[in-house]
């Protein structure tokens, strides 16, 4: 079994109102040092052990479905479980 973590984030040029709201809340709570919050998502994949070319396959999965590259960026980490 191979585990892959895909991190999906909003592209820099895309406004993140959710992040801005969370930043304001943190500042209200006394964490004035918080200058920016951007909220993304983590997709955890488990691949069966026979998969070869994991990097290429996961990259395709990201491009074809998991990520919308008009608004999102991504990176992923592969770990052997």
């Amino acid at each position: 079994m191979t585990k892959v973590n895909v991190y999906v984030t909003l592209r820099e040029s895309v406004v993140d109102p959710q992040g801005t709201a969370a930043q304001k809340a943190l500042q209200n709570m006394g964490y004035e040092e918080v200058k920016s919050v951007r909220i993304g998502k983590l997709v955890e994949l488990e691949l069966d052990g026979t998969t070869t070319d994991i990097e290429t396959r996961v990259d395709e999965m990201c491009k074809e479905l998991l990520v919308n590259r008009v608004i999102e960026d991504y990176r992923f980490e592969i770990e052997e479980a």
Partner: protein
């Protein structure tokens, strides 16, 4: 003229669309379940209705893109016949890259519904020939992901190609880039829009400005 209305699990405005095309316009309209999408080829135009296909999981429209129906819808669009996606249908078309851009959550992060004043930016498209350029029209909307985004470079290209069809005239633009409410593909046969023309086709609904969108398609095909 034969209209197909492509229905996914979670589509919600398919019956409204059927009512507009068949009940009001008087044309033949068929609801096509997504697993029957190979039948699309027998029709003259396809509507992808609003709602929340596949529960809006992952991103609105994303999972519909991965369905088998998308292959047939793509072939239909490539054949040059008209395709219209409304609300979630627009999100599906954008996810599938059949129209440019993407739909983000509304600026206020809330579901919003009401009526919008729109400007018809392009009245020469096959979807808007019954309107006049610059005309102000009123259409209902109901969405949480109606915040249209496209990068600056693509936006410029879209302006050159007259791909922006409707813009919001009022402040209710949900955060959309260039106040965009509806766009077409470069070839001009695929329209995506967040406002809901099928809910504005007869007096009893309170608004009638959507009717001419259907009339425009009819005029083009016949």
């Amino acid at each position: 003229m034969k209209f197909a209305i492509l229905v996914f699990p979670g589509s919600g405005c398919d019956v409204d669309m059927h009512r507009a095309v068949h009940g009001v316009l008087g044309e033949e309209a068929t609801l096509i379940w997504h697993t029957d999408a190979k039948r699309l080829v027998d029709y003259d135009a396809v509507f992808v209705p609003g709602g929340a296909s596949y529960g809006d999981y992952l991103r609105p429209g994303a999972l519909a893109k991965g369905s088998d129906a998308m292959r047939y819808l793509r072939e239909f669009a490539q054949s040059g016949k008209p395709v219209v996606g409304v609300g979630n249908g627009f999100q599906i078309l954008a996810e599938a890259n059949l129209v440019p851009g993407a739909l983000l959550q509304n600026k206020g992060l809330k579901f919003q519904t009401g009526t919008s004043k729109l400007i018809v930016e392009n009245a020469t498209s096959q979807f808007t020939s019954e309107y006049t350029k610059g005309e102000e029209i009123t259409l209902p909307f109901a969405h949480q992901y109606g915040n249209y985004y496209v990068d600056e470079e693509t936006l410029q290209e879209m302006e050159v190609n007259h791909q922006i069809i409707f813009t919001y005239q009022d402040e209710q633009d949900h955060g959309s880039v260039a106040k965009i409410a509806g766009v077409i593909n470069k070839e001009g046969n695929v329209l995506g829009m967040m406002p809901l023309p099928e809910r504005a086709v007869e007096e009893i609904l309170g608004h009638v400005d959507g009717y001419r969108l259907f009339k425009s398609i009819l005029k083009k095909v016949e």
